[in-house]
């Protein structure tokens, strides 16, 4: 009788954990790891990761016992957004890069600390918030992140402050010299009556595999306003898990935008906890996929209090052998009366071998609410295509025009014009190139 030797990745991760020396947060790490050891990585049958074989890919492509790859890249300019007048904070392979970062807002408007430093300088605040809204128990990768995080950011906006310049955070993973496993973490707090705009961009370079396990928590307090934009444009062999939880208090306003363009596998868990009255939350998503990319967006909006409004619009265009996954949960808790919650997910499959799995999940316990959801997936409208062609427009350009029109609707609500036109160009270029 022969036996197949399978890798025990959980054990390898455990060995890596016990051999690591961490400067801060050892208690957090231990308890998070204890939880991770209990659950392990999600298997193929785990409902939440059913379409997204992350564990299999991690087993196949990563060695947990090698040291972190260093990066010798000198310039990060190509990954920045041209002309975006912003605070720039850069992580390279999970480590904060002081030399590439540039803070322009005064500290009276917004305070930036690496998470390690914040453990020393802002220990009380950290103790009150870190791992509290995104708990290690909520997701195996969140647990792994809480145990392993290499570095992170603490962003704190004081009360009644309008942060004039946006915050641009670049997560660059350089796998030129070898595989990269990076785990980073962000905690952001926007105190009462304040405003902040954040743009996060994920890029990678090099031909070796990259695994980026990213966690972030945003606390949006009373009457404050957060604009949050995530751009995932990783190259070839990159695997990413992004756990994002945003917690809203009374009368706060949230706009989130998630754009996924590239990478081997991207899993986004975005949860909005509406824990206040009269909140407004808009979340938009767009995934333009080609090749073998798999992008999985799991979103949750949890209405815990009455009189709030949430609107979710996610759109996808899948070409090549790409796969899209969308799962949108809406919870309306028993006393969250007068909730308005809307959700739509629309998909276009450009090639015959592209697929999409979309699933709305509404759980409503309150009786006086307005909720709606709709999912569509299909091909381009043939009649519209013929109409454009009958005016002399080539089939290729007609398709690109229709796809661009479909996609660009998602960009419309973005306030910052520089950012909007950058994303608009990114989409236009992408659609013309590939279709």
């Amino acid at each position: 009788m022969s036996t197949t030797v399978t890798r025990d990745i959980k054990n390898e991760i455990a060995v890596a954990f016990h051999q690591s020396k961490f400067d801060v947060a050892n208690d957090y790490r231990k308890s998070a790891f204890a939880f991770f050891e209990k659950t392990g990585l999600p298997g193929a049958k785990q409902e939440e990761y059913r379409f997204t074989p992350l564990t299999k890919n991690l087993e196949k492509n990563f060695d947990w016992n090698t040291n972190v790859s260093t990066s010798s890249t000198n310039s990060i300019d190509e990954f920045l957004i041209p002309d975006l007048d912003a605070n720039i904070l850069v992580f390279v392979n999970g480590i904060y890069s002081t030399s590439n970062s540039k803070i322009i807002s005064p500290e009276s408007e917004v305070k930036f600390k690496t998470l390690s430093d914040a453990f020393k300088s802002d220990s009380a605040t950290i103790a009150s918030y870190l791992d509290k809204v995104l708990t290690p128990e909520s997701d195996p990768f969140a647990a792994m992140n809480s145990a392993f995080w290499q570095e992170g950011l603490f962003i704190h906006v004081p009360e009644n402050t309008n942060v004039a310049k946006p915050v641009f955070i670049l997560h660059l993973n350089d796998a030129t010299e070898g595989q990269v496993i990076s785990q980073t973490k962000i905690l952001g707090i926007v105190e009462k009556g304040s405003q902040l705009s954040v743009v996060e961009k994920f890029d990678s370079m090099g031909s070796h595999p990259v695994f980026h396990n990213f966690s972030e928590e945003w606390i949006v307090k009373e009457k404050s306003h957060l604009e949050y934009c995530k751009i995932q444009n990783d190259a070839g062999k990159s695997y990413q898990v992004a756990n994002t939880v945003i917690h809203q208090s009374d009368k706060s306003l949230l706009n989130t935008f998630t754009l996924t363009l590239n990478g081997q596998l991207v899993r986004n868990n975005l949860s909005i906890i509406i824990a206040g009255d009269n909140c407004e939350s808009h979340f938009y998503g767009l995934y333009l996929l080609s090749g073998d990319t798999l992008a999985d967006n799991h979103t949750v909006v949890d209405h815990k209090k009455p009189n709030s409004f949430s609107n979710e619009m996610y759109k996808g265009i899948m070409d090549g052998n790409s796969k899209g996954v969308f799962n949108g949960k809406i919870f309306v808790r028993p006393h969250a009366q007068k909730t308005n919650a809307f959700q739509s997910n629309r998909n276009i499959l450009v090639s015959d071998s592209a697929t999409v799995n979309t699933k709305p999940q509404l759980e409503i316990w309150a009786d006086d609410v307005k909720c709606s959801h709709g999912c569509t997936s299909g091909q381009l409208d043939e009649e519209a295509l013929f109409y454009l062609r009958s005016r002399g427009i080539s089939a290729t350009i007609a398709k690109a025009m229709l796809l661009y029109a479909f996609a660009s609707e998602v960009l419309a609500p973005i306030q910052n014009e520089t950012l909007k036109s950058y994303l608009d160009n990114l989409i236009a270029e992408r659609l013309h190139k590939n279709f």
Binding site: E382, F386, S390, A405, S408
Partner: protein, 251 residues
Amino acid sequence: MLTIKNLQAKVADKQILNGIDLKVNAGEVHAIMGPNGSGKSTLASVLAGREDYEVTHGEVDFQGKNLLELEPEDRAREGIFMAFQYPVEIPGVSTINFMKTALNQIREYRGLQALDAVSFLQLMKEKMKLVEIDQSLLSRSLNEGFSGGEKKRNEIFQMAMLEPKLAILDETDSGLDIDALRIVANGVNTLRNKNNATIVVTHYQRLLEYIVPDYVHVLYKGKIVKSGGKELALELEAKGYDWIKNEVAIA
């Protein structure tokens, strides 16, 4: 300009055109009339290159080219324009951008340089007047939320912009009130000249009071069963299509 010989076509498995012969010369206006289901719109669609229709027999020569071999966009570039019976709503694409792309693709095909923004705007303003259409409407998503009349005016605006050699108006009068009808017809008449031709597909004689045809053809069961001058349209109006049906039955 256009010579159709024994054209037969089907959609799905249903034979619709059963041998059409038609010759259209530059400077002429031809009306194609006929009862519902006679194949009028099918003829228009086959000429424009709609892919749902399969040509099973016959030839269509357009200025020396085999029209049936051309892609829809190349037919347009060669100078064919069909005004749709049901113009399509396209969210996210403005009429202005649409027309700019179309015009420049046609110019490129003909070896002309792309129009710059100023010349394009000038041309657009001039053509807008023709169909009394407002620029704000053209900045909006193509036909989205337009009234029936606005959609049809937009069709004629596009026709004015692209200056086709052969325009095919597919039931352009359907759903139009009398004012819109007058505006649309006025646009078409202004665009008429000795170098272009128009095929007006219509069920009713009403439109032909405004766009006066040189020839009228009656289509029935996928064939042209009667041709004549503009007085034929009046006769049809007076006697009804049963007159034609009976004549065909007797023959």
